[in-house]
């Protein structure tokens, strides 16, 4: 009997180099085989493609994979259309990774984001392949998804503030890095200090440190955790002053009417398609959560979390952006009657063509 080789080319109609076609008739490529991973939820049900085109028109989510911890989508063509169209992970995750064999397109004010949805952890340098479940990994041709690695260590967090001062802004990210966390404001009668913000991780911008209120001697509030969290709990020895908890994963809690942190740092977002087209008014983002204050009359604010990391990989000439791609650090808390926290440092936006 003659053995049939799948490696010789032409054995499978529609395939490339003899590789079997995907369920939609596609073939393995560096952008996947075009088959739909079946995991986009919109309006309470699984969204289905029509003629290979997966069209999102409202809030839609992807649950993180149980093994890799990342929300990963594979499809032929992804279109986000309209101001209500917003695609994000369903919860904090190690990343949002989208492979499309033909194109990813954002139209009419659509958004795709992993804002304040990063996952804290020291996971080392990570590639898209590290985050991709085996079922999708099998559809990928080698040579792309394992190339572009986000750095395991993000930018440094901000120094803590001393005595009676606003918090500081976290460091901005270098290429393929997340931003550092901001530090909380401090309202002290002596030499007390808020803790420093945390450095970013590969999957989450750095955590912001909490606000610190200390009128009794010198108190050094704890540092926010590195690699995205945790944000620390607020410290206040004066129960008149609402004191915010640091943003991070998990968030720190507030005190005396101060709010708990606003969420985590920006996450890791990777779009991998031969054509990525972003229209004016559309946004792809990995923003960190803002710093928070509280509802009391007397307030001291906490630090914001760092921005995440956005990686876009397209074919040469296939990338166009008339809109916005960003990884902003979380905004500083504002409006505190005493001192505000600092903002998270900007994350990084990285574009590659192959």
């Amino acid at each position: 009997m003659r053995l049939v080789s799948h490696g010789g080319g032409g054995a499978w109609p529609g395939g490339v180099r003899g590789l079997p076609p995907g369920p939609l008739g596609g073939s393995k490529s560096m952008f996947g085989d075009g088959s739909y991973s079946g995991n986009v939820m919109q309006g309470g049900s699984v969204l289905q493609p029509v003629a290979g085109v997966l069209t999102i028109t409202a809030a839609a989510t992807i649950a993180p994979d149980a093994v890799t911890g990342a929300a990963v989508l594979c499809c032929d063509t992804l279109v986000l259309d309209g101001a209500s169209a917003a695609l994000a992970p369903s919860t904090n995750s190690k990343g949002l990774v989208i492979y499309a064999q033909t194109r990813i397109q954002l139209l009419n004010g659509a958004t795709c984001h992993i804002n304040a949805l990063g996952q804290a952890g020291n996971f080392g340098n990570l590639t898209a392949l590290d985050l991709t479940p085996a079922s999708i990994r099998r559809t990928l041709k080698k040579g792309l998804a394992d190339v572009y690695a986000v750095q395991g260590e993000g930018a440094a967090g901000a120094a803590g503030a001393v005595t009676y001062a606003d918090g500081n802004t976290g460091s901005a990210a270098a290429a393929m890095q997340t931003g550092g966390g901001g530090s909380g404001g401090v309202n002290s009668n002596g030499s007390s200090a808020s803790g420093p913000g945390g450095k970013g991780g590969p999957c989450c911008g750095g955590a912001g440190s909490a606000a610190c209120v200390s009128n009794f001697g010198a108190y050094s509030a704890p540092a926010a955790g590195d690699y995205g969290g945790p944000g620390q709990n607020a410290y206040a020895d004066d129960n008149r002053i609402a004191t915010g908890g640091g943003s991070g994963d998990p968030v720190g809690t507030g005190l005396y009417g101060g709010l708990s942190g606003g969420g985590a740092g920006g996450g890791l977002l990777m779009l991998i398609a031969p054509v990525i087209a972003i229209a004016s008014g559309c946004v792809v983002s990995a923003d960190g959560a803002p710093g928070v204050v509280g509802s009391n009359t007397y307030q001291t604010g906490a630090g914001g979390a760092g921005g995440g990391c956005v990686v876009l990989v397209a074919s040469a000439g296939g990338y166009s952006n008339a809109g916005t791609v960003r990884a902003s650090g979380g905004a500083a808390s504002t409006g505190a009657s005493h001192k505000n926290g600092g903002a998270g440092g900007a994350g990084s936006v990285n574009t590659f063509t192959i």
């Binding site: 901005a172 931003g179 008014g281 921005g307 916005t324 960003r326 902003s328 998270g344």
Partner: protein, 119 residues
């Protein structure tokens, strides 16, 4: 003033297109320009950016009230202290008019609450 610009951000492109005369610009995607600005920031003369676009503005010194507390936390009153001149990063200003409005606001604050004379 310095515009910290990122070409991937629509608002940043709009601000760059209408850059006021005399305003500098740092393109954050240029490693050389980014490192030059980072050196400034490290010396305390440029706040690190939190988002793009940001506009770095000079804030003149002004006087600020600061609460004073006793050893047991009792409120003793307010002290007047000087906040030294420094730079701030205006995050995501909607327009150059918004930047001008901020500059006018801090100038007016300094006029109304000038720095406390030393000594």
């Amino acid at each position: 003033m310095i515009l910290l610009h990122h070409p991937e951000v629509e608002l940043s492109r709009e601000l760059l297109a209408t850059l006021p005369e005399g305003c500098g610009c740092v393109d954050w995607t240029s490693a050389v320009q980014r490192e030059e600005y980072a050196a400034l920031a490290a010396s305390g003369n440029g706040p690190p950016p939190s988002a793009f676009p940001s506009v770095i503005v000079d804030v003149p010194a002004y006087a600020e009230d600061r609460p004073l507390f006793g050893a047991q936390g009792e409120f003793l009153g307010m002290a007047l202290v000087t906040v030294p001149a420094h730079q701030e990063a205006l995050r995501l200003p909607a327009s150059w008019d918004a930047v001008a409005s901020f500059n006018a606001s801090v100038a007016e604050r300094t006029r109304l609450r000038p720095a406390v004379p030393a000594g």
